[in-house]
C-alpha cells in the first residue's frame, strides 16, 4: 500500500436486522486530503462512519477489511481505534448527567498528559469555539443546544488530536455564526495540520468554508459517484435524483 493512503476499505458489506445497509464499499483515503461524503437520508453515510470507528453493531460481514495506516483494524475495538488516531464526531451526542467533558478527556489522555494540562487546553479551546464557560463546566451536553453540542465534539477532537477526523453532520442544527466559528476551527486545527478529513454533510454551505479535495456520493448503501468540488455544487442545484 502506498504511504500516502491512510485508510483503505475493502469490500465492506453490512447487514443489520436482515436489512442491507452497506454494499461492496471500496474506498481509499489519501493522507492530508479532505473528503465530503454526501447522499440522501438513509443512504448509509453514518453507518459507514460507524464501521470505520468500530461500533459494536457495525462489524463488516463477508470478509470485508479495514486497513488504517497499514494496519488491519477490522477486529480492533473502538477504544483501540481511537487510540490509533481515528475520531468520529457524533451526529447526536448523548447527554450525560454526571460526566464533564474535562473528566472525559482527562481519562482519555491519561497518563500521557496531566489533568491540569487538559483543563488548561479545554479552557483555551472553548474560548476559541466561543463556548460559554457554564456550558463546558456542566456535565457533557447537559441542556446544551445543538450548536453547542457540535462545538463540544470539536473540542474533544482537538485535544485527542486524531490523524483521521470523521465529522458526521457537524453543520446540522448550527446557526450561521456558529457555522463560521466551527469551519474556522476545523481549518485551523485540522486542515492546516494536514489531517485527513471525512465530512458527512447534506449541505453545500459548510463546503464553501472548507473546500473538499474530493466529493463522494452514496446511494442505497453504495458509493455511486465521486468527483471534485464541482460535484457538490451540482448536487446543491439539482438534488440527488439525477445521480
Amino acid at each position: 500500500m502506498s504511504k500516502s493512503i491512510i485508510l483503505e476499505l475493502e469490500n465492506i458489506n453490512l447487514i443489520i436486522n436482515r436489512k442491507r445497509i452497506l454494499e461492496e464499499i471500496n474506498l481509499s483515503l489519501t493522507r492530508g486530503k479532505s473528503y465530503a461524503l454526501m447522499g440522501p437520508n438513509g443512504s448509509g453515510k453514518s453507518s459507514l462512519a460507524k464501521v470505520i470507528m468500530g461500533y459494536p453493531d457495525y462489524q463488516p460481514q463477508n470478509g470485508g477489511k479495514i486497513i488504517f495506516q497499514d494496519q488491519d483494524i477490522t477486529n480492533l475495538s473502538m477504544d483501540k481505534r481511537a487510540k490509533l488516531g481515528i475520531f468520529l464526531s457524533s451526529q447526536a451526542p448523548p447527554e450525560f448527567d454526571g460526566i464533564k467533558v474535562t473528566a472525559l478527556l482527562q481519562t482519555a489522555s491519561a497518563p500521557k498528559r496531566s489533568r491540569l494540562q487538559i483543563r488548561k487546553e479545554v479552557e483555551k479551546l472553548s474560548q476559541e469555539l466561543q463556548l460559554e464557560p457554564t456550558v463546558v463546566k456542566k456535565p457533557l451536553n447537559q441542556t446544551a443546544s445543538g450548536g453547542e453540542r457540535k462545538k463540544l465534539e470539536l473540542l474533544q477532537a482537538a485535544i485527542l488530536d486524531p490523524t483521521l477526523l470523521i465529522l458526521d453532520e457537524i453543520d446540522t442544527g448550527v446557526d450561521v455564526d456558529s457555522l463560521k466559528t466551527i469551519s474556522r476551527f476545523i481549518k485551523n486545527h485540522f486542515v492546516k495540520a494536514n489531517k485527513t478529513l471525512l465530512l458527512i454533510t447534506h449541505y453545500q454551505r459548510i463546503l464553501e468554508h472548507l473546500t473538499p479535495d474530493r466529493v463522494l456520493v452514496m446511494k442505497a448503501g453504495r458509493i455511486t459517484r465521486s468527483g471534485d468540488y464541482s460535484l457538490a455544487k451540482l448536487i446543491d442545484k439539482k438534488g440527488y435524483g439525477w445521480i
Binding site: 461500533y55 454526571g98 460526566i99
Partner: protein, 447 residues
C-alpha cells in the same frame, strides 16, 4: 496491633463479668450488659433480608486488649493491600495507620492541633471507655437512650459486649465546620467488633463527623455489630458520614439512630462498598417540631456481596421533614436491596417526606430489590416515593469508548457519575478515595 489479652471464644454471663472487670466499669454497666445479654439470647435473628445463618456467635472472642506499641512492620503487609492503598493515593501516614502499623496514639499526633482547639471550646472527643470514666453523669444520661438493647438482636449483642468507639459532646452554640475523622479497623482475625459511639450535639451546635473504614483481607469470617447513637438538640446540626470498605468476609450489622429535636437537622451519609453482608438502616427519630432528617446512601455490591441498606424516618412531631436518596450499584452477581420505612405519626401534621431510590445493574447475574414501607397516619402530611432501575446506557458507553476509553474506564466513569449525587456531598479527598475504590473494584471484577 498486638493482642495482650483475649477472652476465650463465645459469650456467657461469666465472660461479660470479665469484660466488665477488666474495663473497671461502674456497677450499673454490669447490670446493663447482663440484661442486654439476656435479651440477646431471647431475640431471634431477623427473618427478612440477607441470610445470616452462617454466623456462629460461639466462634468469636468478645473482648481483647491490644497494645499501643508498634504492631508490625510495613513489609508484613500483604502486597495487594499496599497496592490498593497506593492506587487510592492515600498519604503515607494514613496508609501506615490503615495497615495497622501506626498506632492510634501516633495518628492522634496528626490531629493534635485540632484536638487542642476543640478542647478550648469545651468539646469532648474521647474514646467511649474514657468517656464513661471521665464524664460518668453525661454518659449515663444519654447512653442507650436512643437505641435500647431490645431494639434488635445485634444491638443487644453490642450492648452486652461493647468496647471501643467514640464519645463526643459539643457544647451549645459551638460549631465545628471542619470534618472530624475517625478510623476503625478490623485487624484481628475472628474477632467480633462491637464499637459503640455516642454523640451529643447540644443546642445550636454543629458537628460534621466522618467515619472511614478500610480493612485488610482475612480468611475467617468477622462480625461487626456497631451501635451509633446521636442526640441532636434543638436548633443543632449534625452530619455523620460513613465510608465502609470492610473486607469481603465481614458481616456488617450496624444500628445507627439519631434523636432529632426541635428545628434540628440530622444527616446520615452512608457509603457501603465492602463486607460480605451489610444490613444497615440509618434512622432519624424526628421528635421535635420542625426537625429535619436526611439519609444519603450509596451501595456497591460485587461478587459474593449482599447489601441490604436503606433508611428509617419516624416523623413524631408537626412540620418535620425527611429526605432519602439511595443509589445502589450491583455487578458480578452482587445483590443490593433498598429497605426503607417512613412513619408519619398522627400528631405529625404538615410533615413531608421524599424518598428516591435508583439502582444500577451492570450485568444479568446481579440483582437489586426495593422494599419501601410507608405508614402515613396524618392526612395533612405528604409522602413521595420514586424508584428507578437502570442498566448501563449502551449509547453512552459506546460514545466514551469512541473517545479512546477502555470498556472498564468507560464503565467506571459512568458508575461514578451515577454515584455523584452522593459522593459530591462528602469531602473531596474522601470522594476521590471512594471513586477510586469503585474503579478498582470494577477493574478487579473484569479480571
Amino acid at each position: 496491633m498486638k493482642t495482650t489479652f483475649q477472652l476465650a471464644k463465645g459469650l456467657t454471663e461469666e465472660t461479660i463479668r470479665q469484660i466488665w472487670q477488666r474495663k473497671k466499669e461502674p456497677q450499673w454497666m454490669l447490670e446493663f450488659r447482663l440484661r442486654a445479654f439476656q435479651i440477646f439470647q431471647k431475640l431471634p435473628l431477623p427473618k427478612w433480608g440477607p441470610d445470616l445463618s452462617q454466623i456462629n456467635f460461639e466462634e468469636f472472642s468478645y473482648y481483647q486488649e491490644v497494645t499501643e506499641s508498634r504492631p508490625r512492620s510495613w513489609k508484613d503487609i500483604p502486597q495487594e493491600i499496599k497496592a490498593t492503598y497506593e492506587q487510592l493515593g492515600l498519604p503515607e501516614a494514613e496508609q501506615r495507620f490503615l495497615a495497622g502499623i501506626a498506632t492510634q496514639a501516633e495518628s492522634q499526633i496528626l490531629y493534635e492541633n485540632l484536638r487542642r482547639q476543640l478542647e478550648k471550646k469545651g468539646v469532648i472527643f474521647l474514646s467511649i471507655d474514657e468517656g464513661l470514666k471521665k464524664h460518668p453523669q453525661l454518659f449515663r444520661r444519654y447512653f442507650a437512650s436512643v437505641i435500647s438493647p431490645a431494639d434488635n438482636k445485634l444491638a443487644a449483642l453490642n450492648s452486652a459486649a461493647w468496647s471501643g468507639g467514640s464519645f463526643i459532646y459539643i457544647p451549645p452554640g459551638v460549631k465545628i465546620s471542619q470534618p472530624i475523622q475517625a478510623y476503625f479497623l478490623i485487624n484481628i482475625p475472628s474477632v467480633g467488633q462491637f464499637e459503640r459511639t455516642l454523640i451529643i450535639v447540644d443546642e445550636g451546635a454543629e458537628l460534621n463527623y466522618i467515619e472511614g473504614c478500610s480493612a485488610p483481607l482475612y480468611h475467617q469470617s468477622s462480625l461487626h455489630a456497631g451501635v451509633v447513637e446521636v442526640i441532636v438538640k434543638a436548633g443543632a446540626k449534625m452530619r455523620y458520614t460513613t465510608i465502609q470498605n470492610w473486607s469481603k468476609n465481614v458481616y456488617n450489622l450496624t444500628t445507627q439512630r439519631a434523636k432529632v429535636h426541635q428545628n434540628a437537622t440530622m444527616e446520615w451519609i452512608d457509603g457501603n462498598i465492602g463486607s460480605r453482608i451489610t444490613m444497615k438502616y440509618p434512622c432519624c427519630l424526628l421528635v421535635g417540631e420542625g426537625a429535619k432528617g436526611y439519609v444519603l446512601s450509596l451501595s456497591f455490591a460485587s461478587r459474593g456481596q449482599h447489601h441490604d441498606t436503606g433508611a428509617k424516618m419516624f416523623h413524631l412531631a408537626a412540620n418535620t421533614s425527611s429526605r432519602v436518596i439511595s443509589k445502589s450499584i450491583s455487578l458480578e452477581g452482587g445483590h443490593s436491596s433498598y429497605r426503607g420505612l417512613v412513619h408519619i405519626a398522627p400528631k405529625a401534621a404538615n410533615s413531608k417526606s421524599s424518598v428516591s431510590c435508583d439502582a444500577l445493574i451492570l450485568d444479568p447475574q446481579s440483582r437489586s430489590d426495593t422494599y419501601p414501607t410507608m405508614r402515613i397516619k396524618n392526612p395533612k402530611s405528604l409522602m413521595r416515593h420514586e424508584a428507578t432501575v437502570s442498566v448501563l446506557d449502551k449509547k453512552k458507553l459506546n460514545y466514551l469508548m469512541s473517545r479512546g476509553l477502555s470498556r472498564t474506564e468507560a464503565e467506571g466513569l459512568l458508575v461514578t457519575s451515577f454515584a455523584a449525587p452522593i459522593t459530591q456531598q462528602i469531602p473531596l479527598e474522601y470522594a476521590s478515595e471512594l471513586n477510586k475504590l469503585i474503579k478498582l473494584e470494577m477493574e478487579a471484577s473484569v479480571g
